[in-house]
């Protein structure tokens, strides 16, 4: 349990003294977000700025 909590804390907030964890956390989050975007984007959906 303590290990799990420490792991969660490391993932959520690795702190400035753990740069390797920070890299991995950002890399994993980036991969998840890119994968989700790729899967949910409609086929041939353009990526224009649609505001104004």
């Amino acid at each position: 349990m303590e290990f799990t909590m420490r792991l969660i804390k490391l993932v959520l907030d690795p702190g400035p003294d753990r740069p390797v964890w920070r890299y991995w956390r950002l890399a994993c989050l980036s991969a998840i977000m890119l994968a989700a975007s790729y899967m949910l984007a409609r086929p041939n959906q353009p990526f224009f700025y649609q505001g104004f």
Binding site: P19, Y23, L26, A27, L29, S30, A31, M33, L34, A36, S37, Y38, L40, A41, N44, Q45, P46, F47, F48, Y49, Q50, G51, F52
Partner: protein, 386 residues
């Protein structure tokens, strides 16, 4: 050739980002990076609007650079400012006045102006020329002018870098570090996620046909604001991420606008680079001119007029329509109300009372909701298509 706006779903933008990041980080000689970045900007421009149009745009930028040089070297500014300003204004109207854009569509001018994000370029031109008139900086070079006015990653929807910021941090800076690389990729991924996952979900579930007026606007107003934030900030995230990868300084454009406690706070969090541009180039000069002519006792009145002028122009900058003018006016009324309320409260309850007022959680929550409601209300004329 069919001219389209920059589509981030197509490979050329990403090839340019990755190519620029790799090439610029490989080159150790700092002065060589500026022309290289300009070449990348020009190449993407040629892809977007064709080689002939791109050559014309670059010729226009060199002319703008020449005007800037002449403005710096003389005290008689009007012979240069009037024609340059009128031409910029005319091109702006071609892009933003719906009728003009439609009538000139066949000529091909309006699509080119739209593709290069001319309304943003025009704001950067004003920054450059003002800095030269005020003699705040030495003139920048022609190649730097291309990088400042049309950086490809900030072309479609900003951010609008100030000339002071551009000169303080040259267009292309130091080497790409491992932290820069991962943080740049993270910002790009966050932008894609906001656009394709979160904004798409809000669009599918809460937004329907926005043109039909009715009670549903009570839900659609705030939902439209949330969607707009996600869509717009996604572009800014990608611009900032791309800038980080290329080591080109790119200002932040959003800072959690949905938690703003009043309209002044909101405009310090929403489209920050535009808000700062308005403050520097419209609000402060208008306020200063009014205070000089009306006297220092009427500062609140002068600020109110300056808000109305600045945000009416801000509305028209988005699109020259009644809907956007009313949007600007509603925002200005919100800003004036907050400014007067703040001043009256300071006088009535003093500094200690204000601290207690600001610390009160219930007042804070109510203020955030009221701000969200006002922002949503201001968008109704635009949603209605007036």
């Amino acid at each position: 050739m069919l001219i389209e706006d920059l589509d981030l779903a197509k490979p050329p933008f990403w090839i340019a980002v990755i190519g620029a990041a790799v090439v610029l980080s490989l080159i150790r000689h700092l002065p060589a990076k500026t022309p290289l970045f300009a070449a990348i900007n020009a190449t993407l421009l040629a892809y977007l609007i064709g080689a002939v149009n791109a050559s014309l745009v670059i010729a226009g930028l060199i002319a703008a650079w020449y005007v800037a040089r002449r403005l710096h070297g003389t005290t008689r500014h009007w012979p240069w400012l009037i024609p340059a300003g009128l031409l910029t204004l005319a091109l702006f109207f071609v892009q933003k006045l719906p009728g003009a854009a439609a009538s000139l569509h066949a000529v091909g001018l309006a699509p080119v102006l739209s593709a290069i994000g001319f309304s943003y370029a025009a704001l950067r031109l004003v920054e450059l020329w003002r800095a030269m008139v005020d003699k705040r900086h030495e003139p920048i070079g022609a190649i730097e002018t291309i990088n400042y006015i049309l950086p490809f990653h900030m072309m479609a929807a900003g951010p609008i870098q100030s000339i002071d910021d551009f000169i303080a941090q040259p267009g292309v800076a130091s080497q790409l570090s491992r932290l820069d690389a991962i943080q740049g990729i993270y910002r790009i991924a966050l932008g894609c996620f906001k656009k394709f996952v979160v904004a798409a979900t809000v669009d599918a579930t809460l937004l329907g046909d926005l043109s039909e007026p009715g009670v549903k606007w009570i839900v659609q107003g705030p939902a439209f604001f949330i969607w707009l934030y996600l869509d717009f900030s996604a572009y800014s995230d990608i611009a900032c991420g791309a800038g980080r990868l290329m080591r080109v300084h790119t200002p932040e454009n959003f800072n959690k606008p949905y938690i703003a406690r009043n309209m002044i706070d909101f405009w310090e969090r929403w489209h920050i680079s535009l808000s700062l541009w308005i403050r520097r180039n419209v609000f402060y000069p208008t306020q200063l001119t009014l205070v000089r002519s009306l006297g220092p006792k009427r500062t609140l009145f002068c600020a109110s007029i300056a808000f109305l002028v600045a945000f009416s122009l801000c509305g028209v900058w988005h699109q020259v329509t009644l809907g956007w003018f009313l949007w600007g006016l509603t925002n200005a009324v919100g800003l004036v109300a907050v400014n007067i309320y703040r001043s009256r409260m300071q006088k009535r309850i003093g500094a200690t009372g204000v601290r207690g007022y600001l610390a009160n959680r219930w007042i804070h929550a109510f203020a955030v909701l009221l701000t969200l409601a006002w922002v949503s209300l201001s968008q109704i004329p635009v949603i209605a298509g007036w």
